[in-house]
């Protein structure tokens, strides 16, 4: 095994060890378990966005819509269909993914800034629906009146409602599942093709790759992942917020991906960790946290455009 491979393996082991032990090291450091759960879910969302942004090179600035749809899907499923956590996750994921697939057909032919603009504008559609249709969605107050259910395996039940640690491990399990699938896709010939499109779209087209169809598939897949993350987020809060659909949430996700490092698989998780912890801290010490978050955006863009991982890698090289 080359030293490069060994290093990667060690890094991977370190990431999973840190995630597995998070409830034990976060609390002594002044954090709390549900903060770790939130980091994990938002990290998954940032990684789902980066699946499109970093690996296909397509700038979507409206991905919060599919995240929020996942949350509403899960909430509505628990409230109106059945008291089952897995069903809520699946339905949330489907709602986000299917809406993404439909809108994707309208969006994929555009590129660059224009792609970004159209995704922002379409993303807002769902915000307005959630905001206006208050009889179903609770409008401005958000969707309430549901809660995650114990996992029922017939012979035994796992309580994920009152035990923060159990719930963290349930979310970690879901996270691992999603990340595993994501990694598998990126290693597949399809994933290689996505990267080829990112590197040189014209060349990919000349090689006979149906670029539009590939971008549509990548967009749709990333919306499915996003919907899954959103569904988990609804379970975290037992609540779905219309602001989770808003484009400013999309901006936060893009920021997490950029801050961690768009070109790396794990970068967005790191970005989400820093972002969520920082936001949590800032909003507890100052009412002007918005200014500081804005300033963070400006500083990261001007001085750390490759993100934390990109910065570390470059200073090592």
């Amino acid at each position: 095994m080359s030293s490069e491979q060994t290093r990667k393996l060690i890094a991977l082991a370190a990431i999973w060890a840190a995630l597995l032990l998070a409830p034990y090291w976060m609390v002594p450091l002044g954090g709390y378990t549900s903060l770790a759960t939130r980091v994990l879910v938002l990290g998954l969302a940032a990684m789902s966005l980066n699946f499109l942004l970093g690996f296909t090179g397509v700038l979507s600035f409206g991905h919060a819509a599919y995240f929020g749809l996942g949350a509403y899907g899960a909430g509505l499923a628990l409230k109106f269909i059945a008291l089952s956590t897995p069903l809520a996750l699946i339905l949330g994921m489907l709602l986000g993914g299917v809406c993404g697939a439909i809108l994707g057909t309208l969006i994929v032919r555009r590129r660059g800034v224009y792609f970004a603009m159209v995704t922002i504008a379409f993303g807002q559609v769902f915000y307005y629906i959630a905001f206006q249709w208050s009889s179903l969605t609770g409008g401005d107050d958000g969707l309430r009146g549901f809660s995650r259910q114990p996992l029922d395996f017939g012979a035994f039940k796992i309580d994920i409602l009152s035990s923060a640690n159990n719930f963290y491990y349930f979310v970690l399990f879901c996270f691992a599942l999603a990340v595993g699938v994501m990694g598998f896709i990126l290693r597949s010939p399809f994933g290689r093709t996505m990267i080829a499109i990112r590197e040189n779209e014209r060349r990919a087209r000349f090689l006979g790759i149906p670029v539009e169809r590939h971008i549509w598939i990548a967009f749709t897949l990333s919306c499915f992942f996003m919907g899954f993350a959103g569904a988990l987020y609804a379970l975290v809060n037992n609540f779905a917020d219309p602001r989770g659909l808003h484009y400013s949430q999309s901006g936060d996700f893009v920021m997490m991906a950029v801050m961690g490092g768009m070109r790396s698989f794990w970068g967005p998780l790191l970005g989400a960790t820093v972002f969520v912890v920082l936001q949590d801290y800032l909003s507890s010490v100052t009412v002007n946290w918005m200014s500081f978050v804005g300033l963070l955006f400006v500083l990261v863009v001007l001085f750390f455009p490759r993100g934390l991982l990109g910065f570390l890698q470059r200073s090592k090289a």
């Binding site: 800034v113 504008a121 307005y128 804005g294 955006f297």
Partner: protein, 289 residues
């Protein structure tokens, strides 16, 4: 009934005029520099609050004349310091930067002026309605529309007949060739940015007189402006003009029949336009890629 419809169409046209001013500025910057200026609504707010601050000293007319150029100067400084380093890079970065900037402007104005709305006093004769029958058409509304018409006409004349305007249009089509002809592209981008921000500042002053001022008012106008650009066709300024008026009237008319959908209708309109004419109403081939 006709009065209700007329009322809402008028409302729509006036709101559409705001969208047009905002969207034209956004469009100018987007076409030449490939920057989606998320902070455009922020500059509108700055323009409004500048007007609010200087009105007690120089009156409404002075503020109307002075606030837009002052906003443009602030815009020029922002372009020089923050946006210029990003021109060669992925458009993602300028988007994120202006996004953060919008947060800072909104929070900054809230910090300085407080979260409550601020009124800007307009001259008394403008506040009168024209007649009892048409109570909703105040002098100020007519005045706003007139200012917008004048500003838009001047903008199109500038682009059509002045050297700067010709260069901006040429740069929109092919910036590399313009640079190769020995034109200072950095300067061109700065001036173009300033013109765009001037329009945002102008809408800020006008909006302040009509709606009063709030730190969040720019954010609300941003999304319809985006849609005006997309509907009209990215890359086409006449398209942006038509798009802004169209979505204004459409949301005004919907307010008569289905008030809850008045905001959603512009998104429906956008989806329909993109389905039938993916380039937008006035979009040209090659502008989308």
């Amino acid at each position: 009934m006709w009065q209700l419809i007329l009322f809402n169409v008028t409302n729509g046209l006036i709101i559409g005029a705001f969208y047009v001013l905002m969207a034209l500025g956004l469009s100018l910057i987007l076409n030449l520099s490939n920057v989606i200026n998320f902070a455009h609504g922020g500059f509108l707010v700055i323009g409004g609050y500048i007007a609010y601050t200087i009105t007690p000293y120089i009156g409404f007319w002075g503020a109307l004349l002075l606030a837009p150029p002052l906003t443009a100067v602030i815009g020029l400084a922002v372009e020089r310091v923050l946006i210029r380093p990003l021109y060669g890079r992925d458009p993602l970065y300028s988007l994120l930067l202006t996004f953060g900037l919008a947060f800072m402007i909104e929070d900054g104005t809230r910090f300085i002026f407080g979260p409550q709305g601020k009124p800007v006093t307009i001259p008394a004769f403008l506040a009168q309605p024209l007649s009892n029958e048409l109570f909703f058409i105040t002098g100020y509304r007519l005045f706003m529309v007139a200012v917008v018409v004048i500003a838009v006409t001047l903008l199109f004349l500038l682009l059509r007949y002045t050297r700067l305007g010709v260069r901006i249009r040429a740069g929109t089509l092919d910036l590399e060739t313009v640079a190769a002809l020995g034109i200072n592209v950095q300067m061109l981008r700065s001036l173009n940015f300033a013109v765009g921000i001037f329009l945002a500042g102008l809408s800020g002053v006008l909006a302040a007189g009509q709606l009063g001022l709030e730190p969040t008012m720019g954010t609300g106008l941003l999304m319809p402006s985006f849609i005006a650009i997309i509907v009209g066709g990215i890359g086409s300024l006449p398209g942006t003009l038509a798009g802004g008026l169209l979505i204004g009237v459409a949301s005004g008319l919907t307010a008569v029949f289905l008030p809850a959908a008045s905001e959603a209708v512009i998104y429906v309109l956008m989806a329909v336009v993109l389905l039938l004419r993916p380039r937008g109403l006035f979009g040209e081939e090659g502008m989308m890629s």
